[in-house]
Symmetry: C2
Subunit: 211 residues, 2 copies
DNA sequence: CATGTGATGTTAGTTACTACCAATCTGGTA
DNA sequence: TACCAGATTGGTAGTAACTAACATCACATG
């Protein structure tokens, strides 16, 4: 019984996964999401459709990998618990975005950021993807509420936390759309901070523009 | 040439539409959304699957009729334009909810409200429906921004309006979930007002002194 | 080297949905 | 009354996203 599933196998698995996803995003961008079949993706990646389905349960998942959730949750707990929830969540969102896009100072959009942009473009323009993406927010909302660590026995407290989380996420999503429309020229954390400020006033983020 | 498409025909059409939807929601509730095929719905309604598809373009649409959008938009323009956008939108959302559930005469949950609850329960518990429902918010957001009637040439103003709209809608959705979990015992407008207050502070709605 | 586990392929089936064409029914008119 | 135009419905066939079941292959570990 192998305690670790053979690091080499894991790597290969991750590699094919990435390969499939890259081909998928490329094809979706070139021909459009709906006009591209899973069979097309499989052929482009040089494997059978079944293999694609083994790595990505649905066609939508070929675009919608979520690295963001865990990131945000861990930042939440790092925030001082005394501050109002909207501020804690807002800071976590801004920080996570900084980590995710993480570009060094003068650098333009990196290759991975270019890929992120391509995925987001698809997520925003394609109905099916947009819908699932927004539904992921739903899950993320729960994660945030849990991470806030409030008294879960008081329904009112939970409700307030849920509202704060969903509203913050919605603001962030709008910021994301803006960022994509701008082709990622501006800095994502800044845009998010602006969105949060617009929604909740200056109480939200200390902006802490750059470190 | 008929100037109006024959009111009688329109009524019949609306009737079959309603019949299909009622059977659909009933079956979905009884057996589950995924376990119920469109053919099942068609059979229950006593017609061919094609007819169902003629009235509802997708299976999801059998649950997701949106009466809310137009309602909200028209309330927005009715609000005094001087107030902050979050307040205008918030008031519109609360008012629209009041109109929609409209149980002014102390009747308790009406039959139509019971139906609304059943639909919302499905929308919240079923992934596909939840996703599409949230995507509808996306459309609604645009409608709200348009209705606000701000200067659309200034991208920053538009951005702020978009953020306000999306955040308000997210808060409202959370309220909706809460309302459903409570089986509609509380009054929807009150819950929404509470959610908005939790998100944006007391600046939002002035209609409810208790809480 | 033997062996078992995980990755891959093949096939057949279900279901949502989309043309395309035929039948039928409705409401108003000559 | 008889009939026409348009609206509603039904049937057939096809596409595409999945799913389940079984066979095969590769490779890491004993």
């Amino acid at each position: 019984m192998p305690v670790q599933p053979s690091k080499l196998r894991a790597r290969r698995r991750a590699e094919t996964r990435r390969a499939i996803q890259e081909h998928a995003v490329r094809l979706f961008t070139e021909r459009g999401y709906d006009a591209t079949t899973v069979v097309d993706v499989a052929e482009a990646a040089g494997m059978s459709p079944m293999t694609v389905y083994r790595h990505f349960p649905t066609k939508e998942d070929l675009v919608l990998v979520d690295e963001y959730g865990a990131l945000v949750a861990e930042r939440i707990v790092a925030q001082p618990a005394a501050q109002p929830p909207v501020r804690r969540i807002g800071n976590a969102l801004v920080d996570s975005a900084a980590t995710l896009t993480g570009r060094g100072r003068g650098e333009g959009p990196s290759a991975s950021e270019e890929f992120l942009l391509a995925r987001l473009r698809l997520m925003i323009s394609t109905q099916a993807l947009r819908a699932r993406h927004l539904d992921n927010h739903y899950v993320l909302q729960q994660a945030i509420v849990d991470a806030l660590g409030y008294d879960t026995t008081d329904p009112d407290t939970v409700f307030r936390a849920q509202v704060a989380a969903s509203a913050c996420l919605a603001a962030m999503h709008t910021a994301l759309v803006r960022w994509v429309e701008d082709d990622g020229r501006t800095e994502l954390p800044t845009v998010i901070a602006k969105a949060l400020a617009a929604a909740f006033g200056e109480v939200t983020v200390g902006t802490d523009p750059d470190a």
